[in-house]
Symmetry: C2
Subunit: 569 residues, 2 copies
Amino acid sequence: MRTMPHLTTFDPARWRAYAQGALRDDLVAALVVSVLLIPQSLGYALLAGLPPEAGLYASLLPLLAYAALGSSPVIGVGPVALLSLMISQAVAHAPPGVPPHAVALVLAVEVGVLLALAAWWRLHALAALLSVPVLQGFETGGAVAIALSQLPALLGSGARGSSLPQLLASWRETPLPWWPLTALFGVVAIVALWVLRKRAADWLSRMMPRGRAVLLARLSPLVVLATAIAVEAITRSGERGVVLVGALPALEWRLHAMSFDLALWRELLPSAAPIALVAFVSSLVVAESMARKEGTRIDPRRELAGLAAANLAAAATAGMPVAGSFTRSVMALDAGSRTRMAGVFTAVFMGLAVLLIGRPLALLPIAVLAATILVASVAVFDLQPFREAWRYDRAECVLMTLVAVLTVVMGVTWALGVGVAASIGLLLQRTARPHVALIGRVPGTEHYRNAERYEVELTPGVMALRIDESLLFTNARQLSDVVAQQLVRYPDTRRVVLQMSPVNHIDLSGLAALRALHDMLAGRGIRLDLSEVKGPVLDGLKAGQWRQWFGGELFLSHHHAMEADGPVR
Amino acid sequence: MRTMPHLTTFDPARWRAYAQGALRDDLVAALVVSVLLIPQSLGYALLAGLPPEAGLYASLLPLLAYAALGSSPVIGVGPVALLSLMISQAVAHAPPGVPPHAVALVLAVEVGVLLALAAWWRLHALAALLSVPVLQGFETGGAVAIALSQLPALLGSGARGSSLPQLLASWRETPLPWWPLTALFGVVAIVALWVLRKRAADWLSRMMPRGRAVLLARLSPLVVLATAIAVEAITRSGERGVVLVGALPALEWRLHAMSFDLALWRELLPSAAPIALVAFVSSLVVAESMARKEGTRIDPRRELAGLAAANLAAAATAGMPVAGSFTRSVMALDAGSRTRMAGVFTAVFMGLAVLLIGRPLALLPIAVLAATILVASVAVFDLQPFREAWRYDRAECVLMTLVAVLTVVMGVTWALGVGVAASIGLLLQRTARPHVALIGRVPGTEHYRNAERYEVELTPGVMALRIDESLLFTNARQLSDVVAQQLVRYPDTRRVVLQMSPVNHIDLSGLAALRALHDMLAGRGIRLDLSEVKGPVLDGLKAGQWRQWFGGELFLSHHHAMEADGPVR
């Protein structure tokens, strides 16, 4: 277990232990993460359609807020790519005349409040709404949408857009389609970044141990950025139309810029809700993945509280929603982060960076930043999960693909809405069409298996059925029909035994269906018995006073039920 | 099996057999049903906010159309109470200036087309959306709403409304709150109807066999109606302000009154969809109940086709949606109906009635019709299902009550929408919180049961768990956590065996969760084995190439899995 001083209560002994133990590791990890965080935060702010400093400032206070309330020792909170994509789409659909930073500010407050409410009302289970196919499709589609959205900045076009139709429309309307000098910066940066990503670790591992080489290689984009700044300082291409990051305004309290237009707040809520869900789920995925590596457990509710605090802090100082970043968290873990204090130190380093390297950063061409985002997105793009899903379950693969395509074409809110609805639809459809097995005895054992898959013995006159689903309203109407179909094949049946081990619940509709089945069979002179009814299900049946109509017997094991069939009672 | 001539192919031999066999029974049943259908169809048209003849005409062609395409031999298609309530609510919310009959006409066409599309696309499974609590709540709330909506007509008030707030608002606005002479007709009719409903069967059974007495007693409302007509003919109270049914216009082709205002069609679609669903489900419930009594099966798709044809026929001639009526179907069955020809004869008798008794019917005070509807609704009102639901499952009882209250207060569309969403929500919540059982061996057997419910033997170092749910996206995130919680209780565990018999499906999210569990356990040096994996689930795992990461073993029976635990391999 990690030793970590409480931030709220001051205990000198624990702080001393910390200073002698984990402090150094946390400082190193914070330094490494900060170096990666500087270009990421600038780039993600631009991706969101906001001024670059918004990203830097979103990497200061939110880190402290998460460290105070969150649970994970390594999770890196701040601007993240997919959230920035969602912000840019919300900005693009905001009413005309509202500046992007005002939209993002309202979003950040709403996301913070929604997350805080979710923590209060214990709604962490809602994370389940984003199933694996939805998340995977969203990530893949998001990578494509992010890469596409960077093309204009990369080529020096004034076009903007975060979904394909927007981008095409904007591209057609923009008078200057591209600017050769900007494009030169962009394309050279892409090539350099790609080569470094593929080769840097190998090159470095000739000089140092492999682990450290891999870690350092992740910082290689910094070389490209520094080179670009140097080239810009020499050539002064900014004076010939290449757009630069520009001087960063000082950190200031942002809340004074808050809009109190209720209509705007209401209009942005449908964007804020999916942003809050994605912020929570992506942070949770990161935290879970880290916890698995560490053998620890995470508390989803504290995760919600930490994220809520981080987003409210982001609203106060930066004005853009934040979440846990996968790349930076992996980096923090690999760099040896030991406690949440690493996040505090990262915030301190970022603050120093704003003060110390603001002037060189101002010279960075935006096309080069765009190139780092594009390369990072393309590197994430992976079709392997689609191939695996296709092999496992075609319907889920179709869902995954649909979500990916909708993310690019219609925007994230649409894609997630359709994805969640379709996930629920698939689940309902599965429960609606249960697999039905006629079961028989595996010779010489007390085990009963599907007669179509195994060589089994059937008992004449007794039909043993296993219906592989709970009895729910989705399938209740079919229960009698399924049994009646089997009776057509075995017309001399005088007893039906339902093996109930797959039945995890019986709802009111299922109870009515069981009664209808019992009565239908009784009308034909056939007896209905049940075997292996689970405890909670049986409790329910008793509460429903089923003995008033049920005339059959209950057996603890299916074998007993079949053995009991001597002369018909 | 029933002998019934095909309506489409003329086969003299079969018709001759029919004429000598079932013809007489069908004729008698048709006569009895027609006698009941006359007041019902008038009343339900008024309930829907339409002129009374709409109900009569909705009982002619639709019966023929259903007989041609439907499947049930006894189901009585025509105006039904709950559908009329829904029509009246759609009429009340229609744009101002559109007359009620135009609204109902568009609804009938839309309902017919939706049902036809549902038949074509094989969407009969959508009937499952109306779970038992939703249907029961809707029926109870509907009975209350119908009874309330009849109060103004009964008391001679001009107020109108089919939901409580509408009714109260309208009542307050109406200048003349009630009319004593009308109220006299209404109240006397209610008392007479109620006494007849409670006593008529007993009185009649002194004169005839009980079965026939019960059947005849159901026709007793006719005595009240005939008396009211006679009183009206003598007192001519219609001239003193008592509203009468009035002269019936001749049957005519209605489609010429059709609105082609696309905006109206679009606006009515959200009302037509739940009407179509309710028409289908209530007819299906009737057909299922009849089929169970008869030991036959029904074909939901043919049911859809028959209803679609009936509604399109209703649109052409009457202009109101129709469905299968429970009371009239039970009556047809009890009266001995043998084939779908009974429906044809009912249509013929209804046609004769329109021609022959139109003049006396014109004298019927509407307050008396309202009294028949009110008494029929109150008689249906039953709290027993709520009590039973409370004992069985409180959440479903709350849902049932919510749907009933919403039906009265907000209208049927709202109530059904909330009900369906809440049913799905309850199902998701159930799958999200699986029951977890630590299982042990029932001494001296090969059976394994929940250690908290049975006296069982546990194997030291081996944790056998049964998670009573499929592994789905709703619960995937909790799988590792649930096992980790158990590991806290049994820290010396070196092997975990999951008994998989309750697992009916594993979706992609569940597969990822199983892999995460496997890796989490492997990280702690614990081995994961599975027992009793079902065939379809195993097929899926194999397709997902799980052997690439799964290091444990599969056992056909849980007992084998536990026996296998000699020295740890």
